[in-house]
């Protein structure tokens, strides 16, 4: 697998700039403390999520922030950083002069983005475990879950980046990501919405990502976990196909 050397390169680079990853864990921790714990004092607990017992608000929010961390960790890599490598640093040009192919570059960068997203969420998982916000041993499912989320969003990021023309276009990504973060049941359950809105929200990839992690984290083994996994796997597979083709064409100019 010659694509693996891309992961090697990124590890080499992050050996110098590891603090960037640390900063990435900082953001969900801020949300967890301000909203999960702070506002949680006002909210108390959330009912109707586990079927039975009420859940502490911070424990309800934590898995959603974990899903968001996996998403952002992967997507930062394949949108913001990849765009820089494509347009400014021309990193890939030097790789393509070697036996590496456009396909190797695409697969390698996606593999690294998945790894990075997973690592960031693992670190955040350690934080919330330490804070006693994990409710069930099933929370272990969060680890492969985070990897799947990272995969779906890493590939989607590559697809998006092949459409960007300049740095200003990066704004459009923010324009989609921020509302999705706020409304995809991160801070309250789906039941808050009227039925028609629920139908829309359920199609959001971040909603499915949160479902994938929140249920096992709260110890709920529902078929919704499977639905979310299938949704994200399908999204990732589709985006992967498009990403490899489109990035290949962008690189071979």
């Amino acid at each position: 697998m010659s694509a693996a050397v891309l992961v090697e390169r990124n590890l080499m680079i992050y050996k110098h700039t590891w603090y960037v990853l640390l900063a990435e864990i900082f953001e969900p921790i801020l949300y967890l403390l301000s909203i999960g714990v702070g506002i949680g004092v006002l909210v108390g607990s959330v009912t109707g999520v586990t079927g039975g017992s009420p859940v502490r608000y911070a424990a309800f929010v934590a898995p959603a922030l974990l899903a968001t961390a996996a998403m952002n960790g992967a997507m930062n890599e394949t949108t913001f950083l990849m765009f820089g490598k494509l347009k400014t640093d021309r990193t890939y040009e030097s790789m393509l002069a070697t036996p590496l192919s456009e396909r190797d570059v695409a697969l390698g960068e996606i593999a690294w983005a998945v790894l990075r997203g997973t690592l960031v969420s693992l670190a955040f998982l350690a934080v919330i475990t330490a804070l006693g916000l994990v409710e069930s041993p099933w929370a272990i499912l969060v680890v492969p879950g985070a990897a799947l989320i990272a995969f779906a969003f890493a590939t989607a990021g590559v697809v998006v980046v092949t459409f960007l023309r300049d740095w200003q276009d990066m704004q459009y990504i923010q324009l989609v990501m921020l509302p999705m973060f706020l409304f995809a049941t991160t801070f309250y359950p789906l039941s808050v919405y009227p039925r028609p809105v629920q139908l829309v929200v359920q199609w959001l990839p971040l909603y499915q990502s949160i479902e994938l992690l929140r249920n096992p984290a709260l110890g709920v083994l529902s078929p919704r976990i499977l639905v979310a996994a299938v949704y994200l796997a399908a999204m990732g597979a589709l985006c992967l196909t498009v990403a490899v083709r489109r990035l290949g064409r962008t690189l071979a100019a």
Binding site: E8, R9, M12, I13, M95, A97, T98
Partner: protein, 313 residues
């Protein structure tokens, strides 16, 4: 190896950048590069030199024609070909966050080389580029010339059979340039075939066994530097410089001196087999130049003759 015995062989090689607007960067060129020689592309900005180099490097797909490298088709066997190429692009594409040593290490890994093999070669390559004492420095802290030298050192990590150098000495100081020429000469003696592009006439004359002069995406002439000079220009040139207000008038008067007169914005060039005689003739015609210089013809004159333009404006 194909029938011509060439290491690189191009026939009707074409590159069209899809628009809008569509742009023919290389318009059907033919050339053969022989094993062990140094082959140069000489031409002004936008001539299509880099585009040609990128096609030879299997980085940019061709739009038409044939291109065979090391006996393989450039489009079909890219991986095989690239494993045996070294490539120095016009702009350095080093990993600026990494150290000098790490840059060579990761580049070698792209070729699938083992870490210990790369480590062992790194010492020699750093020596070659005179960067041994910069080994642990980050690339972002290097000067432009040092980066250039690192790019060249890095391109040798796979011990290539064919080395592609796109303007290798642009940005180097004279001393570094001469050192690099010497190093490239040594590589050639070790059997590495070199293909390079340059704006510099002295570089082309010093380094290249054969040249292709490019202009507007076409090859307008090729041959050894000596052949080109003999074929296209006279042995000597008389250069005359006048005050700007008398420039045109002097050009008029000088007509017929030597075999051919070239009028440049700042001076007149009289191509002739005998420069001194031409200078005497100019005196007889009452021309009173500010400066007069007789010199041997060079590639610059070949280029001027072929394209009607000076290479470096």
């Amino acid at each position: 190896m194909n029938h011509t015995g060439a290491l690189v062989s191009a026939r009707g090689l074409t590159k069209i950048y899809e628009g809008p607007p569509e742009h023919v960067a290389v318009g059907g060129i033919d050339f053969d590069v022989r094993r062990g020689e140094a082959f140069g592309f000489l031409g002004p900005n936008g001539a299509g030199k880099s585009t040609t180099m990128r096609m030879i490097g299997c980085v940019s797909p061709r739009s038409g024609g044939e291109l065979t490298i090391l006996g393989h088709d450039a489009a079909r066997d890219r991986r095989t070909i690239k494993a045996r190429l070294g490539s120095v692009p016009q702009d350095d594409t080093l990993d600026t966050e990494l150290t000098v040593e790490e840059n060579i290490l990761i580049y070698g890994r792209y070729f699938g080389l083992r870490r210990d093999v790369i480590r062992e070669r790194t010492d020699r390559l750093l020596e070659f580029a005179r960067l041994t004492d910069k080994r642990a420095s980050r690339v972002q802290d290097l000067s432009g010339g040092m980066r250039r030298r690192l790019t060249i050192a890095r391109s040798l990590v796979n011990e290539p059979d064919l080395l592609l150098l796109d303007e290798p000495t642009t940005g180097l100081d004279p001393q570094a340039r001469h050192l690099l020429w010497e190093r490239l000469f040594r590589l050639k003696q070790d059997g590495v075939t070199l293909i390079l592009t340059t704006h510099y006439m002295d570089e082309a004359e010093q380094l290249c066994d054969r040249l292709a002069v490019m202009d507007g995406g076409r090859i307008v002439a090729h041959g050894s530097p000596r052949e080109l000079i003999e074929r296209y220009v006279t042995r000597e040139v008389l250069e005359l410089r006048f005050p700007l207000d008398r420039h045109e008038q002097a050009a008029e008067k000088a007509r017929g001196i030597g075999e051919r007169i070239e009028v440049l914005p700042d001076r007149l060039l009289c191509y002739t087999s005998d420069g001194e005689a031409a200078l005497e003739e100019a005196g007889r015609r009452g021309l009173d130049p500010l400066t007069a210089l007789v010199r041997r013809s060079g590639l610059e004159d070949v280029f001027l003759t072929l394209t009607g333009r000076t290479l470096i404006e």
